[in-house]
Symmetry: C2
Subunit: 454 residues, 2 copies
C-alpha cells in the first residue's frame, strides 16, 4: 500500500499486517532493535520500521544503505506520545535494490547551491518534496478554477514570429547554423514566445473566457534570484469584460489557489513555514481573509510622496507621475499603507504596453497590478484597447509595425466589445506560497544563463 | 447572462426578461419581424432573437452586420415544435460594436484550408468551437485523472541538451547568428525537447507517480496530415511499477478521458459526429464499454502472417519478427482481429528505445503500444531498464554516449526498483475523439514547415 493512504487512516490499520515498498531515508542499529526510516514519495511524512535480528535475511537487510528500495511487511503499531503517530513492526523485509555507497544525498544538511547541481535527486529531500508538491497542487487548483468558471484552456503557440509587446529578449529557434532564416524551417525567423496573450485574445473573441497555461521564455542574461530563461505563465482573457471584471477575477483566482492549498497541502505548507519562511501561514491567511484594496496609481504616487516627506527611506525617492514603481514602493503600499493585497490601477500609458486601453484622461491606461505583502507585484493585467485607430496609432508611437500584428489589430474591426486579461508568473506564485527565495528552487530543472544541465 | 446558463435551464426563464451580450452570427429581415442569430462563445448553441420595427433605434439595430456585438434585453419564449427550444422576443437592442463589411467569416461553407489562413477567427465556427472545446475538456480530464490518482504534475524543461532517445530532428535554440554555441546563452548547444520522459523518470523516483503535460517539438520536414513541429504530450511515469501496471494505467486513463467527454461535451461530440466523422459516438463507446485486448508482439506477427496467407492485401506483406508494425497492421489487429482497443506488448528490442527493459528472452523489451480502431497507435510506453550495466551497454550499442546521460543512468545506482511509463500525443488523441482528419485542425495555431503565422 501507499504511505499516503496509510498516513491518512493509520488508526484503521492499528494492529493489522500491511506491506509497503519504499526508499530508505535512514537506517540505524539500536541496542535491541534496528530502525529503518522509509518514504515512498506519496507523502512528505516518513514512516519508521522497527525490526529485530530474528528477521529472515537479517544480514542482507541490515546492510541496506540510504536510498535503497525495500519491501516491508509488518504490523501497524500506534505510538501515542512519540513524535510519529505510528510505526511498523516488521515481520519480513526484502532488500529489492541496494544503493551504491556514495549516494550524494546522505542524511545531513545540504546547501541549495549543492542541491541545484543534483536536480535529478533533490526532489527526494523534504524541502523539494514540499515545494514540488505545492507546485503541482497549485497548477491543478488553477485548472480547476478556470474549468469551474467555464473558461476554455487554449494552448497558444510556443514558436512565434512576434514578441508580444516588443519587450523582452527572445531566443531564436532554427535548424540552420548560418542565420539564413529565409531558408530556415519556417521560411522566416522564429522565436520562443514571451507571452501567449495576443493569441489568447483572439480566442476570447470566440469563447468569451479563455486561459493559457504554458512555458514562456526570456533570453535575458540576468543572474538574479528572480529570473529564469524558461518559466510558466497563466494568462486568462475575457471578452465583454472591463478593468473591474478583471480585478474581480484576479482576486477570486488568487483566493481559490490559496484556499486549495490550505485544504490539500497543509503538511507541505507547514514544512515550508518551518524551514523556508517564518510566518508563511499567516501571510497566506491575509490573502484569503481580506478583500483586496484598490489604489489608483495617481493616489499611490501621492501616498509615496508623503511617505518620502515623512522620512521613509526609499532607494528611489524621486516620486513623480510617470515613475515605474519599484518593489520597495509596491511593498510599502501593500504592507505599510493598506496592510493587505492591493490592486494599483490606471498607470501612465508611457510605462505600459501598446495594447492597453487608453483612459479618457489622455494620460493613463486601464492597467492593473496586484501587489502582495512580502513580494510586491504578483499579477499584471489590463483592459485592452478596443478602438482600432487608437491601437494602430499607439503601435506606431511605440515603434511597433502594425503590419506585423495585422491579425491582432484586425480583431477590433470584426465586432469587438471590451476584453480584459492578466498574466500570472507561475514561479512567482510558487515562490510566494512556499517562501522559496530563489526561482531556481521552484523550477524542477531551472534554465538560467550557462545552465542547461539535465 | 451567459448563453450556456440560459441553455442549460431555459425552462426556468420562460416568460422572464433577460439581458445578453453576444456576437451576431446571422441577421435577416422577415416580413413582420427580424431575426438575429447570436452566440456569446459560452456554448456551441446559438440563440435566436426576434425583434420588430417598433424597437428603439430600429435603423441602427437593423444595420448590424455579421460579427457585430449586440446587447439584447427581452423575454424568453419557449418554442415547442421548432428546431430551437426557445427564442428571445427583444424589447431593447443595443449595437455595441459594428463589424466592418468584409468580415471573412460570412455565413457559408468554408474549406479547412481557407480557415487555417484565418486561425485568429476560425475558432468562431461551430466546427472549431466543438474541436477546441473538446481539446480543453480533454486537457482538464487528464489533469483531473492524475490528480485523483495522486500523481504529481511536473513541468519538465523545454530547453534541453539531450534529445531523449537519439530519435527525432531537434530545433536549435540560440541567441547568436554564428552557431558558436560555446559563447551562447547556455554555453553549449541547446535544443527544444522532444520528450520530457527522462526528467520525469527522475521525479518518479522521488514522488512515485508523476506526469508531464507540455509542448514538445520535432524539426521534421513532414507535410503530412499527422505531423506538426509543435505539439503537446502527456507522459506519466510510475516507480515500483511494471508493464502490467502500465497497461492498467493506460486503459484507466483513456477510459477516464472518454467518459469525461461523454459526461460534459455531448453537444460538441454530436456536432463532430454529424460533421467530421460518421459513427464517432459508436467508435468512442467501444473504448469505454470493452476491456482492452492484449496481444504479445510475437503472437501479432503470427496473426498477420496468417492474414497475408489468407489473402489480406497489406502494402507491407513481408511479415517477420523485427517488423515495425505499420498503421495498416495495427488497424487490422484492433479492428478486424480483436474488434476493440488492443495492447501489443514485448516488441523486438531493435525497433525500440535504449531505455526499455530487456526481457529474459534476450530479444524483446517490455514495451507496450495501445492500438485503437480507426487510427492505430495512440499510446506508446514501456517498463524501463533497471539494470545499470545493461542500460550502459544498450546505450553504446545504439550509439548514444552514456556520459551525456550520466544523471539519467545514475538513477539506477541509487536504489531503483522498477519504473514504467508511457507517452500520449495529445493532438493524436484530439483527432481521435473529434474525428478531425488533419492535425492542423486540432492545434489552435499549428506550426508546420513554412507556417509560423499568428
Amino acid at each position: 500500500m501507499e504511505l499516503k493512504e496509510l498516513y491518512s487512516s493509520y488508526e484503521k490499520y492499528d494492529g493489522k499486517e500491511i506491506t509497503i515498498i519504499a526508499r530508505v531515508r535512514s537506517h540505524r542499529q539500536g541496542k535491541a532493535v534496528n530502525f529503518l526510516v522509509l518514504n515512498d514519495g506519496t507523502t512528505i511524512n516518513d514512516i519508521q520500521v522497527v525490526y529485530k535480528s530474528e528477521i529472515e535475511k537479517y544480514e542482507e537487510v541490515s546492510s541496506a544503505r540510504v536510498s535503497s528500495i525495500v519491501e516491508v511487511s509488518g504490523k501497524v503499531v500506534l505510538t501515542p506520545g512519540k513524535p510519529q503517530p505510528f510505526e511498523i513492526s516488521a515481520s519480513k523485509i526484502e532488500l529489492l535494490d541496494q544503493a551504491i555507497e556514495n549516494y550524494p544525498l546522505q542524511k545531513k544538511e545540504h546547501s541549495p547551491e549543492f542541491l541545484r547541481e543534483i536536480a535529478h535527486l533533490r526532489a527526494r529531500t523534504k524541502t523539494f518534496q514540499s515545494i514540488f508538491r505545492i507546485r503541482s497542487a497549485a497548477a491543478f487548483a488553477i485548472h480547476e478554477f478556470f474549468n469551474q468558471n467555464n473558461f476554455i484552456y487554449v494552448h497558444t503557440p510556443i514558436l512565434t514570429e512576434n514578441d508580444a509587446e516588443g519587450a523582452g529578449e527572445t531566443f531564436v529557434v532554427t535548424t540552420r547554423t548560418d542565420a539564413n532564416y529565409e531558408e530556415d524551417f519556417f521560411g522566416k525567423k522564429a522565436a520562443l514566445t514571451v507571452s501567449g496573450q495576443l493569441n489568447a485574445e483572439s480566442f476570447a473573441q470566440a469563447f468569451k473566457k479563455v486561459y493559457t497555461f504554458g512555458p514562456t521564455f526570456r533570453a535575458e542574461n540576468s543572474y538574479t534570484s528572480r529570473h529564469a530563461a524558461e518559466f510558466w505563465m497563466i494568462e486568462p482573457e475575457v471578452a465583454f469584460a472591463d478593468l473591474k471584471d478583471n480585478i474581480e477575477l484576479i482576486e477570486k483566482m488568487v483566493k481559490h489557489i490559496v484556499n486549495y492549498l490550505f485544504k490539500n497541502n497543509m503538511d507541505e505548507l507547514n514544512f515550508c513555514a518551518q524551514n523556508l519562511e517564518e510566518g508563511l501561514i499567516e501571510k497566506l491567511k491575509t490573502i484569503i481573509e481580506n478583500d483586496f484594496a484598490i489604489t489608483p496609481y495617481e493616489e499611490a504616487i501621492e501616498i509615496l510622496k508623503k511617505a518620502v516627506a515623512d522620512g521613509v527611506d526609499f532607494e528611489e525617492k524621486n516620486i513623480e507621475f510617470g515613475l515605474d514603481l519599484g518593489t520597495e514602493h509596491e511593498r510599502y503600499l501593500c504592507e505599510v499603507v493598506n496592510k493587505k493585497p492591493t490592486f494599483v490601477t490606471n498607470y501612465p500609458k508611457e510605462i505600459k504596453a501598446f495594447y492597453m486601453k487608453q483612459n479618457e484622461d489622455g494620460k493613463t491606461v486601464a492597467a492593473v497590478d496586484l501587489l502582495v505583502p512580502g513580494i510586491g507585484e504578483l499579477v499584471g493585467g489590463s483592459q485592452r484597447e478596443d478602438d482600432y485607430e487608437k491601437l494602430i496609432t499607439r503601435c506606431k508611437e511605440m515603434n511597433i509595425d502594425p503590419e506585423e500584428l495585422w491579425w491582432y489589430n484586425d480583431l477590433r474591426q470584426y465586432g469587438y466589445y471590451k476584453s480584459a486579461g492578466f498574466g500570472l508568473g507561475f514561479e512567482r506564485l510558487i515562490m510566494y506560497v512556499t517562501g522559496a527565495a530563489n526561482i531556481r528552487d521552484v523550477l524542477p530543472f531551472p534554465r538560467t544563463p550557462k545552465n542547461l544541465l539535465f
